[in-house]
């Protein structure tokens, strides 16, 4: 089985972590050849496809591509071992699935266990190749070998999981920032700051508690992109932030007028078509 040395790739965006893993591996598994080191996900995929290492050690959080995304492109020809310092959701997923993972900082004992497992698996694989039977790369021990399609499924599930929870930021898809040109730079106004939008011939006026901006986006476009629970349309030309409404009263002409909290400017008219929004319960 020593016809060719076993090769490995290390990918971590933090150089000290790569150094540590390399040092640990050389003491735990001296024969292992580190053929490539990558500092980001894109590089990991590129080097992984060029060198086709037997094992790929991938950090989960990397710029460019995450370790899990990189793994989805590499698992068909490399055994994947994930490394992470703290990723609650990923850890839960690993413990349920059969993917290999290491906790950073990597301890010698833990790495030795993982390496031993990898070694048996690789040997089994080589024996199977020698027998040249397509069915034989399925090991008898279920813990040490998982069919590639299963790994693919697990990785897909993991990707979805991390996108939903790991980032701790639910991506609702609604517009969260209004980009307004101010001088040479683009001002990013959080929608949480906006009190109301009002269409004004060619432009849309964006009013916050302290300032106002003009943007080119039409009210119709904004209406489609903003969270409908956050902003209500009260008039053909006005979208108002629900949280900012102080009170609604009728003026002498019987129009419903809306006053806003923390805003001393004009009251906003509620058109008849939208007056159903403001009725006593």
């Amino acid at each position: 089985m020593n016809s060719a040395a076993i090769t490995a790739l290390i990918a971590d965006d933090e150089a000290p972590m790569r150094d540590l893993l390399r040092a640990r591996l050389s003491s735990v598994w001296p024969e292992l050849q580190i053929v490539a080191e990558a500092a980001n996900g894109v590089q990991a995929v590129e080097l992984g496809q060029r060198h086709r290492p037997d094992i790929a050690f991938l950090d989960i959080r990397m710029p460019g591509l995450s370790g899990i995304e990189a793994a989805r492109q590499l698992y068909t020809h490399s055994h994947i071992v994930f490394a992470t310092a703290y990723d609650q959701y990923a850890l839960d997923a690993f413990q349920q699935g059969a993917l290999d993972y290491l906790l950073k900082p990597v301890t010698a004992e833990r790495l030795a266990t993982t390496c031993a497992r990898l070694r048996t698996r690789l040997e089994a694989q080589r024996d199977a190749k020698l027998v040249a039977s397509p069915d034989a790369n399925r090991d008898t021990d279920r813990d040490t070998s998982v069919p590639p399609q299963d790994i693919g499924q697990q990785l897909a599930r993991l990707t979805a999981l991390l996108e939903n929870k790991g980032q701790a930021k639910p991506q609702t898809g609604y517009l969260r920032w209004i980009q307004a040109q101010v001088g040479a730079s683009l001002r990013m106004v959080s929608t949480r700051e906006v009190l109301f939008f009002q269409s004004d011939e060619k432009y849309t006026r964006v009013q916050t508690a302290t300032s106002e901006f003009l943007i080119r986006k039409t009210l119709k476009e904004l209406l489609d992109e903003l969270d409908p629970d956050e902003f209500w349309r009260i008039h053909r030309s006005t979208l108002v932030r629900v949280d900012a409404i102080a009170d609604v009263s009728r003026d002498v002409r019987g129009r419903q007028m809306l006053r806003l909290k923390n805003y001393a400017g004009e009251a906003l008219e509620v058109s008849r078509n939208h007056s159903y929004l403001f009725q006593q319960m």
């Binding site: 972590m17 540590l20 310092a85 703290y86 990723d87 900082p105 920032w177 730079s185 300032s211 002409r253």
Partner: protein, 297 residues
Amino acid sequence: MQASQINHVLDFMRDAISEVSKWWWRFFDWVAVVEWRRLFLTWFVVLMCFGILNTPEPAVWYIFISFAVKVLAGGKRKAELVARDATLQANVATLERRLMEAKMAALQAQVEPHFLFNTLALIGQLIETNPPEAARVHAHLIDYLRSTLPQMRARDGGTLGKQVELSRAYLAIMQARMKERLGIRFEVPLFLHSAPFPPMMLQTLIENSIKHGLEPKIEGGTVSVRAQVVGATLQVEVCDDGVGIDPHADDGVGLANIRERLQLLYGTQAELLIATPPGGGACATIRLPYKMMMEDA
């Protein structure tokens, strides 16, 4: 034509009536709370004026009406005004409570476990490969924790100089991890180090720059912190040349907390501005009244 003219007249009448009623109630309020002595004085002045004009009737009417209002409605009106004052005070109390809550939230959302674990992992590995560097990072981590853990926080954390010091500790740790991928630039004049500045705002902005701007960028970039006084405004700016801001990404707990605290502390006199410069990246600027704070301090 006819109908629209009538409408116009009606509108004008409505406006006129509302204006008159506004003035009447204003007069009513004034009479209700004014001292008797002053009321007598106005009676005297009005009598004199109309007496000179030889038409005392309006003056008599004025005296009669204001006397009646004072006697009949004075007490009730006064009570109403006192109640309004109380409501205002209650509002102030609510504001104070919200400020407390915002402060608590700022205290609690401090050390991100991910950051802590990674830093400890880094120290663990440096102990074997580069002990002096390990000691350095370890010292920075202690500085950082001292300022961020609520139980450890010193009471004098509220100056810009202190905040800059803490941010430097955080950035030094991040630099040990990201190496050449992270550049740092501080442009904070010495005289501004003593300027009062709310805690944990600068750090939040810097963490955002690294987490959302530079860490996702393969080649990394530079965080620059600049402070200057423009007129009566202290302007503290955190800029990066990272991947910029996705218009659909949530603005996060950190920025919302800064905005809330600024509003509670300074009202509309302070603001948090986020911009994307033409060259890419993102710039966050906190603007606070400068003079006013110096007087308060």
